[in-house]
Amino acid sequence: MSTAHTASTVKERADLALNDEFLRKAVKFTTERLRNGKKQASEEHGNWDDWRERGRQIRLHTIAHLDYYLNLFANNARANGVHVHFAETSAEAVKLSLEIAQRKQAKSVVKSKSMVTEELHLNHELESIGVEAIETDLGEYIIQLAGETPSHIIIPAIHKNRYQVADLLSKEAGETLAPDTSILAGFVRKKLREKFLEADIGMTGCNFAIAETGSMVLFENEGNARMVTTVPKTQITLMGMERIIPSWADLEVMATLLPRSATGQKLTVYMSGITGPRRQADADGPDEMHIIIVDNGRSLQLGDPEFQELLNCIRCGACLNACPVYRHIGGHAYGGTYSGPIGAVLTPALQKNVAEWDDIANASSLCGACYEACPVKIPLHEMLIYLRRRKLEQGHGNAAESIGMKGFAAVMGNAKRYAGIVKLGKLGQKLVVRDGGIRLKLGPLKGWNTYRVTPSLPKKSFRDQWGTLEQELRHGLQELDPNVRSRMESIMRERDNKGGNGHG
């Protein structure tokens, strides 16, 4: 919802989303479909954890040697005839893109899906110099007409229904189009076909860049990325500096993980490897090809042991589909280019200013569904905790909360004090307990008790009862089965010998 952008905190934006019945239903329906698809596809493929581990190892290896592989990619792409550029900041990347557009005297740019260009707000920048930028992915086209940003990495218009889409496209068509998916898509096909054929520049993102041959790889289902890289005379590709994989052999692993994780497909309808502009004798493909390699905060993660793995992300969206928070609030509530668990970590990580984005890290119950879904095993649930800790270390804590936590430490640091507080609690609760529960909606209990009844403390805590219980059981205790005893002893020996983390 466009109004979501005017609310300033995640909490406020989430409230808007929680009150939007259609949004919640649509997001639930779509994420369920996608995650079931993923589950089915990964089970059918089999050995999924081995593949995840392989994907993770390839990404870890590449990022650990990124200077070598990125350099190799740049040299090879250049040898293929590509004009390679480097942009440290989003401003540099925008400047380069606009300059190319101006040099080519471009009137229009057709774009296929690219999250990097979303980071740069490139459409807006192109419009500002009078160049029409047209999103050609069906979902992206719809939200562009609505003047919004994507709310899901894979399904950008997840929050729009067919009636809203029909209204938007009818305006564009100058006639009323029925809210029928095939009619709407048919209109877009016809309309964008013209745009492809007259566009001066095709602009793309990049799923993977193959270092050893200087090739760039795109995954898509509609064919618009193929159009963008086949029809216009000039191609500009914007890629994050971490998109690299060493070889085509490694692409097999990514091609196994990405489509299955994103949509449950065995492969997207199109997977295209583009190696340079058209060869001289070719009759299609771009005459001129530019690749802009963008940093924009990515390199801040390098050498940071807690966040370097963030660069392993292959942008599949599986963590969004698995996330119970995303499912309830949708993408716009996150307030950045990237949403869901990956957005909650990536958005602050790409900005140096952690404090500004801090509340995003709080929008998670740390359930770990994102980690379980991640095809390259990024521990997002742990990174969220690191973000919360760093925010405090940088002095951006919440005063009331830090007083509370100091109290927590004082009580929990000492068992006697802890037992004393529990006693006090039992006395204090007498004022508020009704029918075995607490319904008071005041102070810290307000939010909790809006949805729940809080249980009261029983007369005796476990430690109060322990003495009696222990005495009772000491008599009549069974003999430990000798087989079990020997198993326990062998477990103890094994864990002493082993360097690992033991069980679990």
Binding site: A369, E401, V422, P444, G447, T450
Partner: protein, 242 residues
Amino acid sequence: MKVSLFITCLSDTIYPRVGEAMVRLLAKYGIQLHFPSVQTCCGQPAFNSGYWKEARESAKTILDAFEDSDFVISPSGSCTGMIHHYPKLYETDSVMRERAIKLQRKSYEFTQFLVQVLGVKDIGAVFPHKVTYHPSCHGSRLLGIKEEPMELMRHVKGLELVPLPFAEDCCGFGGTFAVKMADISGAMVTEKVDHVLETEAEVLVGLDLACLMNIAGNLHYRNQPVKVMHLAELLYEGVKQA
């Protein structure tokens, strides 16, 4: 051999009957549990909120309590999971880190210990009720506890296990999350309870008291009579009935 009970603060203060059930069930197999009373809380609320210094204060009581134990058993996948975070919590203190790693290796959630270590499958319980199971996130995802509770429940006579739709979805507890993002958390627990009600089960069972308190709180709020039990309670109840 010393087997110790890591009671966890929730079981200690609000649900002592769960601790009691565990102690009595393990006694059946000749396990005499020790209860070191210096233990308090695992420190997870502070750790997850980023207050690591404060978390260490609390974690230290756990490290002290179980220094000389051979096995440490808790009624919570989440609190045992927190022990798995201790090496990270003490990353810069090599002495404490070493102690943390030792503790991590000997810590078990209740059903893990019962099935993996004692080799129990059939605890000899009878529980003729319709039951549904919520697999808590930390236990199932971080500790990989998936089969153990199923194995135990399959052998309970009369127990009819109804699958919970979207069982693996978080109940919305998330510690301070439930307070800071109360409405999102509320939407999550409401949906979880909707799914529980769909099963028409008489009992919801789980392995983590925080999640169970959250779900029970919403059931209570909505005046729904579904009974919420920790699996240790259910098994103990069933053994008494057998």
